[in-house]
Amino acid sequence: MKICITSQGNNLDSEIDPRFGRCKYFIFVDKDGLEFEAIQNPNVEARGGAGIQSGQLVAGREVEAVLTGNVGPNAFETLKAANIDVITGLSGTVKEAIARYKKGEFEVTQGPSVSSKFGLPS
């Protein structure tokens, strides 16, 4: 199983992207090692439903948890249906978030943290 972190850059020293559906990169990390894969998010410019598409993308990669800043209602529903834990409210670097996740510092979010269209560029 892997965890997925929304990131503003393509490596572990990048800052966490506060948006889920429209984050710049998804970083997938194997829980045991520091092997990672960064994927550019194709849904950044989606007119609508970015969270659903991103949720589907993440769900297709055997992920047990998503670490992000915020998640909207459609993305939350998609991730929940795929039995993926969602952890919100994160900032700092991807590396720090992974370390804290491993130590079990986070609590799983019980609902969406923002409303629809939150991640749209203003």
Binding site: A46, G49, Q53, G55, Q56, A59, T78, A81
Partner: protein, 289 residues
Amino acid sequence: MIVSIASGKGGTGKTTVATSFALATKNSQLIDCDVEEPNAHIFLKPRREKRVTVSIPIPKVDLTKCNFCGKCAQICAYNALAVLNDRVLVFPHLCHGCGGCSLLCMQKAINEVDKKIGIVEIGKANGVAFVHGILNIGEVMAPPLVRAVKQNINTSKTVIIDAPPGTSCPVIEAIKGSDFCILVTEPTPFGLNDLLLAVEVVRKMKIPFGVVVNRADLGDRKVDTYCEEENIPVLMRIPFDREIAMSYSKGIPLVTAQPIYYRKFTNMFEIIKNHVCVYSSKGNLELVD
């Protein structure tokens, strides 16, 4: 002839113009396409003859047939579907009802079910044939309802369409196919700003148009200057007048409160009719004095 009444800005007087125009025009039909907040019926008080429920088809997935290929989610332009390992999620509020997903499903796992989005009501008021649509509260899919309203257009009549304000999909759907568009504005910086946006829309859609200036003695002269520079005909000016405001506040149509306006509206009709004739014969917009 189909004449639509639009504006970039809300509250400029579209419905005031549309209802009085309909009352002053012989053999007219008023179509209220402002389905999010229809209000022409308040002026016209039509007697309702028919009410129809309008639905759009949304997908329902039969998981016993689905092989989770993901094609339905891929082709959905509005991302209304998510295909996961063992289930498919449908987000009805994002679905535009195009039917593409069920058409392309090789497994025939997608059935379409109706989702009610609103109603269309048809009636008659003082000789004016009347149609309007009412969108359900919380429903975002206005264009399909506008299309359903417009299916009741009777081309043997002079059709007057009251469009919603703005410049987005519901407006485009409402004014599409019009022979002429009246843009109602007011002589303020706000009126001008939104008039410019509305002009861009009708120019892009190649609909001949003119302007009605409401509350014409308020504000500044910039709307007039703009119309002169751009050769846009100003079809009518309605002053900022206490009597007009009072009849409006009681829901009385302008032409009923002030019968002198009958003539102004019939004149406007003649101008537009000539305009449409000139346009259709020459293929370009010409200013008619």
